[in-house]
């Protein structure tokens, strides 16, 4: 894997995540009690032996930088290679105002060019999965492919827009790519994750840039389905693509299935994240906790059911939390009752309040809110 480098594109659309992304990029959205979305992609790369990762920053990257710092938690604080934060061009410099990764890739062309590896893995930051990328890379080499697209089979497409589906022949060669089709027969959904040679990447970026195109995949790769050897590699395992509030809630709750918990966090290496040195969780007498994920630094005296508590949440006596996600340092007054609620970081809820959302539409309380 010494011959593969990673490029994480933070330009994923945050439409549909509402308050959760009002001040942070999608990759920085907290998930699973102690992680941020980008942790999964970063860790998958590092676990596969990738030692050179470029991160294409877009707007609202403050919280993300605070999280990844110098990449130490992923062993990416290296003398050679390591983590590179790729700053986007300032507006006006390129004439682009619409988002898209081409201006950003073009702006950071020197990074791509100078990377010592011959192959690149380009991906977004919103996939919750533990993927063995080594296998995908081997597949790419074996097939002598120009581009290998990583996909996952799912039969609940209607729940997952926006998505890109592919159809493959018996050898795994991609024969059709469709963006947000109303009907899809293949059930093969791309994870916005693909491998190609560095030379091809540079060519495609230049080609798109010089023709005022803005998206590497849609404008660079898709139109060349017939003349490039594009293959599909299937990741068989759990995948959660977070692209809306509903999918955020759904995939968060799926972490409460022991099978998913086991696979995601232990299958092909660990998922690393920023360390906070919080104390172990204290369960006081009278606590009733079932089917929940609890992060360190929490203290629990009340009732917690089917929920995810991030670090440093205090659940006092009489507090009842059901089917909810409470991010870091939520402060709850006595007797607070929450159901189907997502509390962003540092939310304060005064005593006796009852908040209820709907399983299909959880109530989101924004960061630092005081109720």
């Amino acid at each position: 894997m010494r011959n593969l480098f990673g490029v994480i594109d933070l330009a994923d659309s945050t439409e549909g995540l509402g308050e959760l992304t009002s001040h942070r990029a999608l990759g920085a959205v907290p998930i699973g009690g102690r992680y941020r979305l980008i942790d999964f992609t970063l860790s998958n790369m590092v676990n596969a032996g990738i030692r050179n990762v470029g991160i294409l920053l877009m707007d609202r990257f403050g919280p993300l930088l605070d999280h990844i710092k110098d990449g130490k938690e992923w062993d990416l604080d290296r003398q050679r290679d390591g983590m590179f934060l790729l700053v986007p061009p300032s507006e006006g410099e390129t004439g682009y105002t619409t988002p898209g990764n081409i201006p950003n890739l073009q702006h950071n062309r020197m990074y791509l060019k100078k990377s010592r590896q011959d192959y690149a893995l380009v991906c977004g930051s919103n996939v919750v999965a533990n993927i063995d990328l080594k296998k995908a890379y081997q597949f790419h080499l074996e097939k002598k492919a120009d581009v290998t697209l990583i996909y996952n089979r799912t039969c609940t497409l209607d729940e997952n827009p926006p998505y890109t589906s592919v159809a493959t022949d018996e050898n795994g060669r991609v024969v059709d790519i469709a963006l947000n089709p109303q009907q899809c027969t293949s059930c093969k959904i791309l994870l916005n994750m693909y491998i190609l040679s560095k030379d091809l990447l540079l060519n495609l970026v230049d080609h798109c840039n010089s023709r005022q195109k803005r998206d590497l995949f849609a404008d660079g790769i898709m139109p060349r389905l017939n003349d490039l050897k594009i293959y599909g590699y299937e990741h068989e395992g759990y995948v959660g693509v977070v692209n809306s509030l509903r999918t955020y809630y759904k995939h968060s709750m799926e972490l409460l299935e022991p099978k998913v918990w086991q696979e995601l966090f232990f299958a092909h290496g660990q998922i690393n994240t920023k360390v906070k040195h919080e104390a172990p969780v204290r369960y006081l007498e009278g606590s009733k906790v079932t089917n929940s994920l609890i992060a360190t630094g929490c203290t629990i005296q009340g009732t917690v059911e089917n929920s995810i508590l991030f670090r440093g949440v205090h659940v006092g006596p009489g507090v009842v939390i059901k089917d909810s996600i409470l991010m870091q340092k939520a402060e709850l007054g006595a007797g607070v009752v929450l159901q189907n609620v997502i509390l962003d970081k540092d939310v304060t809820i005064s005593a006796g309040k009852k908040l209820t959302g709907d399983p299909s539409f959880p109530l989101v309380i924004e960061k630092l809110a005081k109720l």
């Binding site: 699973g32 104390a279 369960y283 006081l284 994920l293 609890i294 360190t296």
Partner: protein, 412 residues
């Protein structure tokens, strides 16, 4: 080398033989404590929180776990260009080498290390106590009093004074008399094994101690009495707060249980005085459907599907459906199988307790057992498998070799 005001020397080479099987393969400071820590984390975190950035860790007994744990000291902000942490094992010199003969000799053999930083003060610490202490206050006190040596002291119950070095002090906290483990104590102020020396004095006394062939080269037994005999001013720095020597199975168990009180004397989740440790990237703990967790402490990566009452469950440990863990300590990676029972036990790292096994249960009427632990604490060693259905009577076994014959006699 940049001059440092304070260099800390942390004595971490002790075997901790009274911890029995728990320190068979690792030094006492490396013994897991409090759900996610190792004992040495408390002293190292005290250094970090007190602004001390130059720490020599003296190792000797079974250092592998300890060495790899400390690494370059990153969790305690001791990965520095100037100073930082240095692990100091005994080494061979031009005219041969020798093991550390005692606490004073261990520091004596590393005088060169301290000289590199030419400090004003040297702080002598031990790596086997659980406490939170601001050493910078003690150094201020030492400076203010113009002391040659300052010893941190804590009041202990009179009936326990025979286990400690105790100090008799005057109104100004100046030490008038020092008694090492006295039969009849004149004071109940016990030494915590934390000393501040002026560097020049320390060097002088350690060289003199080394030259004395009759000395057992120990700070408490030899060096402190020597300073006192010379009529030099030694002061006692009174410490208030939780402090526990976890050198025995009983005290290790008790200190863990102390953390489970509704209002523990030692708060682990104090953002102003964090206890730093080497964190493994493990997911948040999962407490499953039908589980029952009360009065307990659980760490990252643990998985509970059964009952856990009044217990400490370490990183990556798991308790299966129907299993019952009460008044116990499950160290990192311990797996308790379905319907197994663990009562008042310390189960060391990565041990597997199979389905239906019973640990720490009372003896049956007429059953002959050899009680090893009077307090009834059962200790199971690390990396072993307790077979399904095996029954281990409370306070009896320590190591596999002493386990009851299985399965003929004890299967329930």
């Amino acid at each position: 080398m940049q001059k440092k005001e304070v260099v800390a020397m942390l004595l971490a080479g002790g075997q901790g033989s009274r911890l029995g099987i728990l320190t068979k393969k690792l030094a006492k400071p490396a013994v897991p404590f409090g759900g996610k820590y190792r004992i040495i984390d408390f002293t190292l975190s005290n250094c970090a929180n007190s602004g001390i950035d130059t720490v020599g860790v003296l190792t000797q007994y079974q250092p592998l776990t300890l060495n790899s744990y400390i690494g370059i000291g990153n969790p305690w902000d001791l990965d520095r260009h100037s100073g930082g942490v240095s692990v100091l094992p005994p080494y061979v010199k031009e005219h041969g080498g020798e093991w550390y003969k005692g606490t004073a000799n261990a520091v004596y053999q590393n005088l060169d290390y301290i000289s590199r930083y030419d400090p004003e003060y040297v702080l002598i610490l031990s790596g086997d106590h659980i406490y939170k202490m601001d050493y910078s206050k003690m150094i201020d006190f030492h400076r203010r009093k113009g002391a040659k040596v300052t010893i941190a002291v804590i009041p202990v119950p009179w009936e326990e004074t025979h286990r400690f070095g105790v100090m008799e002090v005057d109104d100004d906290n100046k030490i008038v008399e020092f008694q090492e483990k006295p039969k009849i104590a004149k004071s109940n102020l016990a030494s915590m094994g934390v000393y501040v020396f002026n560097w020049k004095d320390l060097k002088k006394y350690l060289e003199a101690d080394e030259a004395d062939s009759k000395s057992s080269n120990d700070f408490g037994k030899n060096v402190i009495p020597a300073v006192l005999n010379d009529g030099e001013p030694i002061y006692a720095f009174p410490f208030e707060g939780y402090w526990k020597d976890v050198g025995t199975v009983d005290s290790l168990w008790e200190a863990n249980m102390d953390l489970l009180k509704a209002e523990p004397d030692l708060k682990l989740n104090d953002s102003r005085w964090k206890i730093f440790s080497l964190n493994h990237s493990l997911p948040p703990q999962f407490v499953g459907p039908g589980s029952d967790v009360q009065g307990s402490l659980l760490a990252d990566g643990s998985l509970v599907l059964g009952k856990v009452h009044h217990s400490v469950v370490f990183t990556g440990a798991s308790v299966a459906e129907g299993a019952e863990v009460i008044d116990s300590i499950l160290m990192p990676g311990v797996k308790v199988g379905k319907n197994a029972i663990v009562r008042k036990a310390i189960v060391a790292e990565n041990t597997v307790i199979q389905e239906g096994a019973q640990i720490g249960v009372p003896a049956r009427p007429g059953e002959k057992v050899e009680i090893i632990n009077e307090a009834g604490i059962t200790v199971i060693e690390d990396n072993v498998t307790v077979p399904a259905g095996m029954r281990i009577v409370q306070g009896t076994v320590l190591s596999v070799a002493e386990w009851p014959k299985f399965p003929e006699e004890r299967i329930s």
